[in-house]
């Protein structure tokens, strides 16, 4: 029997034709993503300030807390995370397969359609037309746009994948391809059964919880871990430890992770929360596996000189993945859930997952790949390092106080002799600290947007110059004579 050749991302050579073919789609995806990242940050700040001054912007229905808060979450998830993840996935698939993307106009159109959908969706939420389902607040028109935009992006990525010249399958491939078709499945299911032909009563809650878990935990893990499994070996100069262990992590994530998400105290038939708790306990396996793989790959690798560079983002992202997933698993345990359910611990976990893990991983990937794709360096390369440290402290200041405050709030709420207002007041100092964390994140996001927009400007300027030169170039003399 032939020895199986284990694919290794380190041997893969960068291909400039692949990069060039992705230029337009990636600028369309990342440009919009950077914009929504900023917008989401501003909305999150507005929402957070309202806890310290409830009268702040209270006269404006578009900016009431109950609308701004979901809008900020959705801007981060649908505005930034998903398009950035799709951009990184497109690049990774093309790069791993050594195949330039064909018909780039379609993904460019899909990216524009996606970002237009996000605009419509956010306007819908802020004007009071939210669907009322968690993480699915976008009104129907926006959901339809997002769905078809995603389908086009996924279709093009799959066509590129199918036509790949390098036939070897890397661990990143499984994760990314699974992500490509899992989103349309869960998103269409959730929208069809909740918004278009709504099912009745608590079945809505079951489907909503299933969707939320599969988008926020499973989909983000597919893309984020898939990207990390490409970048970690690349940066550390050591092969992924190991290929088969990665396959094991993928399988257990698919088998167990998809069943999490039904809260233990939910008013549903008991088998659902119980099954979900069991699945969450088993999800410790893939989470720790990812942690061990990353650790083994990094240990003994080259000491990377990119301090505060893309490498740091990816490392921090992987660490946050493990931590946020462990928080998620903890809240599925009925005893812990009794304290943490309905408290700020939940938002703390979500923020660590969305920002600490996924957004940070995407920042690292974008900082690595966008200059290669554009053919230009970032206009402010020093800001990358500043962005890393600001985001690191921002995430810490956002997540830690909310998590601790959440536990404190939960303990107080479980004690009926402590008045509700006293339990609430106990959380306010923690909420103040988290506002500072959000401010740092806003600043970090601004630095990211500066670099992305700056690079876009440089690239477009060069493009205009090139076109101008081509138009104004003197015609060939022989042709004129003829």
């Amino acid at each position: 029997m032939n020895e199986i050749k284990i694919p290794d991302t380190r041997t893969e050579t960068p291909d400039s034709r692949v990069d060039a073919s992705l230029r337009w789609p990636l600028f369309a995806l990342f440009g919009g993503a950077a914009f929504w990242l900023m917008a989401g940050s501003v909305l999150a700040m507005i929402a957070s300030i309202k806890f310290h001054a409830p009268g702040f912007l209270a006269a404006c229905p578009w900016l009431t807390y109950g609308r701004v808060q979901p809008a900020s979450d959705d801007a981060l998830l649908y505005g930034f995370c998903i398009p950035a993840g799709m951009g990184v996935a497109l690049w990774l698939l093309a790069q791993l397969g050594q195949t330039p993307l064909r018909g780039a106009i379609v993904p460019v159109f899909a990216a524009k359609l996606w970002h237009l959908g996000v605009l419509v969706g956010l306007a819908g939420i802020l004007s009071g037309n939210s669907t009322g389902f968690v993480w699915l607040e976008f009104p129907r028109a926006a959901s339809v746009m997002l769905f078809f935009a995603y389908l086009l992006l996924a279709l093009w990525a799959m066509m590129n994948f199918a036509a790949r010249r390098e036939r070897a399958l890397f661990p990143s491939h499984w994760f990314l391809v699974a992500a490509l078709f899992w989103f349309p499945w869960i998103y269409s299911t959730a929208n069809l059964f909740l918004v278009i032909w709504p099912v009745r009563g608590v079945v809505q809650f079951a489907i909503n919880s299933w969707f939320t878990n599969n988008l926020l935990f499973v989909w983000l893990a597919f893309v984020g871990v898939g990207a990390a499994f490409y970048f970690l070996p690349k940066f550390s100069g050591r092969p992924l430890q190991t290929y088969y262990f990665a396959l094991f992590a993928f399988w257990t994530l698919v088998l167990f992770g998809t069943w999490c998400g039904i809260p233990p105290g939910a008013p549903l038939p008991a088998w659902m929360p119980v099954l979900s708790s069991v699945a969450a306990t088993l999800t410790i396996v893939p989470v720790l596996a990812v942690g061990v793989i990353a650790w083994q790959t990094l240990c003994g690798g080259e000491k990377c000189a990119t301090r505060g560079g893309p490498f740091c983002f990816i490392r921090f992202g992987t660490l946050s993945f493990v931590l946020s997933s462990l928080m998620l698993i903890a809240t599925a345990c009925p005893r812990i859930s009794r304290v943490t359910e309905f408290t700020w611990f939940g938002p703390a976990q979500t923020q660590l997952q969305l920002y600490g893990f996924f957004a940070m991983t995407m920042f690292g990937a974008v900082y690595h790949l966008l200059p290669r794709v554009a053919g230009f360096e970032f206009p402010f390369p020093k800001l990358v390092r500043v962005h890393f440290w600001v985001s690191l402290f921002g995430t810490g200041l956002l997540v830690l106080p909310l998590a601790i405050g959440g536990v404190e709030q939960g303990l107080k709420l479980n004690h009926p002799d402590v008045g509700f207002m006293d339990a609430l007041k106990a959380t306010l100092p923690f909420l103040r600290a988290s506002t500072i964390g959000l401010m740092l994140l806003l600043f970090g996001n601004l630095l990211f947007a500066l670099n992305v927009f700056g690079l876009t400007f440089v690239w477009e300027k060069a493009l205009v110059k090139k076109v101008f030169a081509a138009v104004t170039a003197p015609l060939n003399a022989p042709e004129v004579r003829a």
Partner: protein, 419 residues
């Protein structure tokens, strides 16, 4: 690797497994759920909301109330109380049986005496059999337990049936504000709800709820004042202006008043204290005997007042003042107590030697004069209180005296009202 297709096919099937588990299976199990029969009643539950309350769910959704409020009560378990209903002919034997069950009982036991408190179902069954073999009659009262219920956020935990007609379902996942599942039972006062929406801090000190001013209109009081205008605390009253709720605000308030978790169901049994207020039914069935009146008073108290003041009348430490032995209740005159019940209370008040800062909802709109009279009588004659009974005519007189739009008072203002 040659097994690429195999990996993807298997992953596809595995992912689909969770779809079958948490999308298909719940729909198959619960999708056809119909109304359930209420325990010990011929009525069914839930009933779809109508009119304003039904539209109010959409206001609740549009303004994102679920971002801060949950609408689900959590229950830890159940405990049983054994209550002696009738001592029968052989009082001494029943007395001995009861004391065999619970040696801590006083020497003389009367009607509706609680024989066992917070016992397990098995212990309660033993007590019932002992008392009935002695010739007495006792009944088990099922009490849901858990911090949410002890807080007065509902009589029992929320179950799937409660949400049958909620579309979209708004369970919420964060308690930055209190749970609202039982809001309509706790604060059945539309004016309180509207003023709270308009200016939360005027009613709840230190509230972090944003004021929903955009749900209200400020209007010049013309020739005809609006019947909907808010009855505002004095510090918010504007000269020659009135605050009128928009239709959306009225719908939202109607929806909040429709929220309650107090119906006993087969999979969520609970005995409303003193028998269900709803199951006692219309006042016609209540009878007019003194005992029946007292029973009705207990029922009304249990489903409304008891949520905050406690079924023992002791209130909640530092949050809700006690009614047992309170100088506002246990006095000869009923005028002040009736006024508090009818018009609510807002501001500082002294009770039983302590200072309280309260915002109690008015019950005048939720309860008829007859029900108010029974509940006032019950409060004035329970837990060691020994004031006289109040009749429906008494309450009608107080209601007429304070007018159709009474202002909730504070302690000092109440003292200016004759006893």
């Amino acid at each position: 690797m040659k097994n690429g297709a195999l990996i993807f096919l298997a992953a596809f099937i595995a992912l689909g497994g969770s779809w079958c588990g948490f999308v298909l299976a719940p729909q198959l199990q619960l999708g056809g759920t119909k109304q359930t029969a209420i325990l010990n009643s011929s009525e069914v539950y839930p009933v779809d909301r109508l009119g304003e309350a039904s539209l109010g769910l959409q206001a609740y959704r549009a303004n994102g109330c679920a971002a801060c409020h949950t609408k689900q009560v959590r229950q830890d378990g159940v405990a049983c109380d054994v209550i002696l209903v009738n001592s029968g002919t052989n009082r001494l034997a029943v007395q001995a049986a009861a004391q065999a069950v619970n040696p801590a009982l006083p020497g003389l036991i009367g009607s509706r005496q609680t024989v066992l408190h917070n016992a397990s179902k098995a212990a309660a069954d033993v007590a019932i059999s002992k008392i009935s073999s002695a010739g007495g009659k006792a009944e088990i009262s099922i009490i849901a337990t858990g911090p949410d219920i002890a807080r007065g956020w509902g009589l029992r935990g929320s179950v799937a049936e409660d949400f049958l007609y909620d579309n979209p379902i708004q369970l919420g996942s964060l308690r930055a504000g209190p749970d609202l599942a039982d809001e309509g039972a706790r604060l059945p006062d539309i004016n309180w709800q509207l003023v709270h929406l308009y200016a939360p801090r005027s009613l709840i000190e230190g509230s972090v709820m944003p004021p929903y001013r955009y749900l209200f209109k400020v209007r010049k009081i013309g020739g005809k004042p609006s019947p909907d205008a808010l009855i505002l605390p004095p510090e918010l009253v504007l000269a020659s202006r009135e605050i009128v709720p928009t239709p959306e605000a009225k719908e939202l308030a109607a929806y909040l008043l429709s929220l309650r978790v107090d119906v006993p169901l087969p999979d969520a049994p609970v005995t409303p204290p003193g028998g269900s207020y709803a199951s006692v039914g219309g006042e016609s069935q209540a009878g007019s005997g003194e005992e029946a009146m007292f029973a009705r008073g207990r029922a009304v108290y249990g489903s409304l007042c008891g949520l905050c003041h406690g079924n023992d009348g002791l209130g909640k430490t530092d949050q809700v003042p006690p009614l047992a032995g309170s100088e506002w209740v246990n006095v000869r005159g009923f005028q002040r107590a009736a006024r508090i019940a009818l018009a609510g209370l807002n501001g500082r008040i002294q009770a039983k030697g302590k200072d309280w800062n309260l915002s109690m909802a008015a019950m005048g709109a939720a309860l008829s004069d007859a029900d108010l009279a029974t509940v006032l009588t019950f409060i004035r004659q329970s837990w060691g209180n020994q004031a006289g009974a109040v009749t429906a005519d008494d309450v009608t007189a107080v209601r007429a005296a304070i007018g159709a739009r009474p202002q909730p008072m504070n302690g000092d203002q109440l003292k200016s009202v004759p006893e």
